[in-house]
């Protein structure tokens, strides 16, 4: 039963035009960010290296695909979840709106199984979109700007060799994908609670904004600062600290996965208890 539900949901995603609008929007955002990153990149480099110019000669270019990728990474994690949350919450709100949910429930489909498949689709869709995004941004950035050393300022001015930079960027996409999964699973839970699509979008956007605002707040308590979910969202930045703290990186991502599972559990419980309609 789960398998056929899964295939049906997958078919819906492939068939619906919204999926392609989302992918188109992501490519458009990527191109715009690449363009901005190019101009921002040269200014950033001038400012970063200004004080070092007195003591050093520089050989080789730092305005390359890796720097562009890093600037892109900084800009992606607000715009992309917004689009993804709208699409994934739509997986359920559209069913409420079109009344198809009642028809599905008239079949021999368990509510729990149905909603778990919806969550699985939200996760799969997120992974597919992030993979697509990663491949296209790498292709654009490397084709236009080439490879080279990456310069990043996180407490110290860190230089990474091209191969190392590539690995760190790949890992940060994985970490970013986990954060995206958390957002999308949350938007699905919100869809279960709210049912109405536009209201769900609004609350999801609000959730995204509040999480981003809380990310910058220092709560004074070290353990709260380390465990509260908004603080885990930008774990990908930790991958650009010179000496990698894998315990913190893996720990943070594991916590985010736990938060996502908690959202799934809450959503499944509510959906199971609620009447359809």
């Amino acid at each position: 039963m789960m398998k056929s539900l899964f295939s049906a949901e997958l078919l819906k995603i492939v068939k619906q035009s919204k999926t392609y609008y989302a992918l188109g929007a992501i490519i458009l955002i990527e191109l715009l960010i690449l363009l901005i990153a190019y101009y921002q990149g040269s200014t950033v480099l001038d400012l970063l290296l200004e004080s070092l110019k007195q003591s050093f000669y520089f050989e080789g270019s730092l305005l390359n695909g890796n720097l562009i990728m890093y600037i892109v990474l900084n800009s992606l994690w607000f715009n992309v979840p917004l689009i993804l949350m709208i699409i994934t919450s739509g997986f359920l709100t559209d069913e409420y709106k079109d009344g198809t949910l009642q028809s599905v429930m008239l079949q021999a489909v368990k509510k729990k199984q149905f909603i778990l498949v919806k969550y699985a689709m939200a996760i799969l869709f997120t992974i597919l979109v992030i993979t697509f995004m990663m491949l296209t941004t790498f292709a654009f950035a490397y084709a236009i700007f080439g490879k080279g050393d990456l310069i990043v300022y996180i407490n110290t001015l860190n230089f990474f060799e091209s191969g190392d930079a590539f690995r760190r960027i790949c890992f940060s996409f994985i970490s970013g994908a986990i954060a995206m999964i958390f957002y999308n699973v949350t938007s699905m839970t919100l869809a279960i609670l709210i049912k109405d699509s536009s209201k769900t979008w609004l609350v999801s956007a609000l959730f995204l904004v509040i999480t981003n605002l809380l990310l910058k707040v220092d709560f004074g308590n070290a353990s709260f600062n380390n465990l509260f979910f908004p603080k885990l969202i930008d774990t990908w930045q930790q991958l650009f600290v010179y000496e990698l703290d894998w315990t913190r990186i893996i720990g943070n991502n594991f916590l985010l996965i736990l938060y996502s599972l908690l959202m799934v559990l809450i959503g499944t419980y509510i959906f199971n208890k609620k009447d359809i309609g």
């Binding site: 950033v44 070092l52 000669y57 300022y153 060799e161 930008d234």
Partner: protein, 218 residues
Amino acid sequence: MIRVIFVLFFLWLVKPIFGQEIDTDLLTIKKRMDAVQQFSATVIFDLDVPFIRMPTKSAKITYSKGEKMGFSSTDFVMLPKRGLDFSMSEIFKYPFITVDRGTEKRKGLLLKVVNVIPTDKRSDLAMATLYMDVQAKRIVESEINTRKDGSYILLMSYASNKDILPNYVETTFAIERLKIPFNFMGKDTKIDRKKMRAMETKTGKIKMQIKDYRIKQH
């Protein structure tokens, strides 16, 4: 007779001031270095600056007498503006005088210390203190004070007793703190103003291993 002795004694006293003789040991070293017409080598750099983290880098350097040091690398490298002048050509570029500063012991070696002061205004060098290994006829340490690029210290080690060019150089220099644009800082970056102020000027070091020398001498 007493008058003659007095005049001779006075002349002996003021000789270091007006004589402006160049230290003969330095001249011997200079002659050895002048013989180096060209050289190329591979340099492996390790940057040791408190606020910069960089992996070990390597570059090819090329030197031709009378020209600036050239360098090339397949990836990004930061090379110190001063400190690559192993041949000391910048110091000896314009006429100079020397002042004997006696001797000092470093790592079991008795070194002769001289101050080199250029007499030509075109020179960017304000003063250099050179520590010479007279027996091996080479410079082991130098403290360079420039008019434009600040001061720096060079420590040099050599592979064998007969080498004139070093196989290891450590350059110590003063470096201003970084002025970082805030929009480029990672979100997790905490700004410690006290720490930043304390870091206004720091000492940086660059350690260089030089290998695969190809020297052309005349």
